[in-house]
């Protein structure tokens, strides 16, 4: 069967089970959009147009995080392509599987500074797992197969495929059933389970440090079993949040800079740190020498390049986390020693672990908790980046994996609106919550149009402190309160703003207004609702461990 390149792309998307894609049309992808038009008529693939290509990639990213599937985004050449860069880097730092398709000028015009030509392979080389430019339509099928393989194989991540216009119009024979093998030869894996069991058995105070790899491998249940079997408390990185249900009594929450006191304290006192699917980010570890001062480190990760990269490792197991834990668990005896885990549980309920304001007061914490009361266990919570993100990470009672969609590694302000759209679509237009702030929201609020056009019931909870709060907080602590460019004094009327886009908004200044607005907001199921919550401009995220420090230097008040 002879097909055009654009048709081959659509066939390959279908082959990989893709039913939703995000993007924005343009000159060098018209042929692809012509095929998308036909696919939509056939009901095979639905395309969602966003307000901006960055929003499209964040939406594909949010879709992938909430569903576990591969996100797909499409953009035209030149500015369309460069607009995807922040979205791609966001997915790369958090290991989210994406396939991003960009158009490019015809191969005959490449390298001549043609209209809307940029070297996307060059631009995205350091922020993709791999990228391709297609130079022959005959290579397109193999390239796309390989792109999906790389995005999902090993540590996941984004892959970009740049398809010049003449590669989309060119034809070649296509056979859907053609088989490809992309595995590399002679990959030896070190799997000495007996040695790992020795490490674990000789530990009196083991601690599980859980990262996003646990969610990627769907290994939450086995991590819980491990915790119960060896009586180890559990802490996590930002990307690991939602892997362990908040109500598990040995779960201490986020470790690190803005983590919970109990989690950082127990980590600092453990004698064996079992790190599962995590890369020891500086935001988690603080000072790396102090971080592993008292303990040995046993690392479990799918990617050998992560072993010992940021913190030296005493022993490691390389491979799929779920497979490794399934093989390891039967070899470990049930621990009878509960002294350590009981101590950790006491830390969880100690006064030092609650540096927040009182529950009944109108505060960021109480707003987040009040919103959570109205949500289901599987409601996806998206965030932007800054103080509101940390408050959400600290206090939203996440119960199920993949219910938190947040930009961890790159810390992308403006991520939230697009991501919430993707997450809602991944869950069949289910209600999704976005916690955002006046700073972050102004960066990508244009994506409200996408939520309105597609009748997505996204509850936008905007915490307005009239500041770029996280930077303002650092200026308070480290720069003698010189608030350079962080007090915004903007006059935006958010209620009118969302009404102009076609949604609904409420202004909130106290707990009573919050409760009343929530009741009204939750009756609206066919579009976005914004709660403009005006909060104390001086509220800080606590506790705080200063950069390159340890729990000994924690600022708790």
């Amino acid at each position: 069967m002879k097909l055009t390149g654009a048709q081959i792309l659509l066939e390959e998307l279908k082959y990989h089970g893709i039913t939703e894609v995000f993007g924005y049309p343009g000159g060098t992808v018209i042929n692809i959009y012509d095929e998308l038009y036909k696919a939509e008529e056939q009901g095979t693939i639905k395309h969602y147009i966003t307000a901006h290509e960055q929003g499209a990639v964040h939406a594909a990213d949010g879709y992938a995080r909430a569903s576990g599937k591969t996100g797909v985004a499409i953009a035209t050449s030149g500015p369309g392509a460069t607009n995807t860069v922040t979205g791609i880097a966001t997915a790369y730092l958090d290991s989210i599987p994406l396939v991003v398709i960009t158009g490019n000028v015809p191969t005959t015009l490449i390298g001549r500074d043609s209209f809307q030509e940029v070297d996307m392979v060059g631009i995205t080389m350091p922020i993709t797992k791999h990228n391709f430019i297609v130079k022959s339509t005959a290579d397109l099928q193999k390239t796309l197969r390989r792109a999906f393989y790389i995005a999902n194989h090993g540590k996941k991540g984004p892959v970009l495929v740049d398809i010049p216009k003449d590669m989309q119009t060119g034809t070649c024979t296509y056979n859907r059933d053609k088989k490809f093998n992309f595995s590399k030869a002679n990959q030896k894996k070190s799997l000495n389970f007996d040695k790992a069991v020795e490490f674990i058995s000789s530990s009196k105070k083991p601690f599980l440090y859980v990262g996003g790899g646990v969610i990627a491998a769907n290994a939450s249940e086995l991590v819980l079993q491990l915790s119960r079997k060896i009586n180890a408390p559990v802490g996590c990185s930002l990307m690991g949040l939602s892997a362990i249900p908040r109500d598990y009594d040995a779960f201490l929450g986020l470790i690190g800079m803005h983590g919970r006191y109990a989690a950082s304290k127990a980590q600092a006192e453990c004698d064996l740190l079992i790190a599962i699917g995590t890369r020891f980010s500086d935001r988690t570890t603080g000072n790396k020498e102090k971080f592993r001062k008292s303990c040995k480190v046993l690392q479990i990760d799918i990617d050998k390049a992560e072993i010992g990269k940021n913190v030296p490792t005493d022993f490691y197991l390389e491979g799929n986390i779920n497979d490794i834990l399934a093989a390891l668990l039967p070899k470990i005896p049930q621990s009878e020693n509960t002294e350590w885990i009981d101590y950790a549980k006491k830390l969880r309920w100690s006064d030092d672990n609650f540096s927040r304001m009182k529950d009944h007061e109108y505060s960021p914490y109480s707003i987040i908790k009040e919103v959570a009361k109205h949500m289901k266990d599987d409601t996806v919570v998206a965030t932007d980046v800054g103080q509101h993100q940390m408050w959400t990470a600290q206090y939203y009672p996440l119960k199920k994996p993949r219910t938190l969609v947040t930009s961890g590694g790159l810390g992308t302000m403006g991520f939230g609106m697009g991501a919430a759209i993707g997450a809602s679509l991944a869950k069949n237009k289910q209600r999704t919550v976005l916690f955002t702030s006046d700073g972050s929201f102004h960066m990508n609020l244009n994506e409200l149009v996408t939520a309105v056009s597609n009748n997505l019931p996204i509850l936008v909870v905007l915490l307005d402190n009239n500041a770029l709060g996280m930077v303002r907080q650092w200026q308070d602590v480290f720069f003698e309160k010189r608030h350079s460019q962080t007090i915004l004094n903007r006059k935006t009327n958010y209620v009118k703003l969302i009404e102009a886009f076609g949604g609904t908004g409420f202004r909130v200044t106290n707990m009573k207004e919050l409760a009343d607005s929530l009741v009204k907001a939750l009756k609206i199921n066919n579009g976005p609702v914004l709660l403009h919550c005006i909060i104390d401009g001086e509220a800080n995220v606590l506790p705080m461990i200063p950069p390159n420090s340890s729990v000994d230097e924690i600022i708790n008040k």
Partner: protein, 79 residues
């Protein structure tokens, strides 16, 4: 840590950009390249890249693992 000279031989797919991916990794991670050669390898469709770099025992392992992660790289050896 004691700095030593290491020679890496890297077998790569003979594709445009493969060398850029390797040298780009060295540049991004601030590893210095003291010597570099590229020749066609005996295996069809592959090239052999030889890189000399100065670092310590722990870092060279990290460098090797990061090069192995590049999709176009087939294998890496420390000579």
């Amino acid at each position: 840590m004691e700095l030593k000279n290491y020679t890496l031989t890297i077998l790569v797919d003979d594709l445009p950009g493969a060398l850029t991916r390797i040298t780009g990794l060295f540049a991004r991670r601030a590893y210095n390249i003291d010597g570099l050669t590229v020749i066609k390898a005996s295996k069809k469709g592959t090239s052999l890249v030889t890189i000399v770099t100065q670092t310590d025992d722990r870092n060279i392992q990290i460098i090797v693992r990061q090069i192995e992660r590049i999709a176009d790289v087939q294998s890496v050896k420390i000579v």
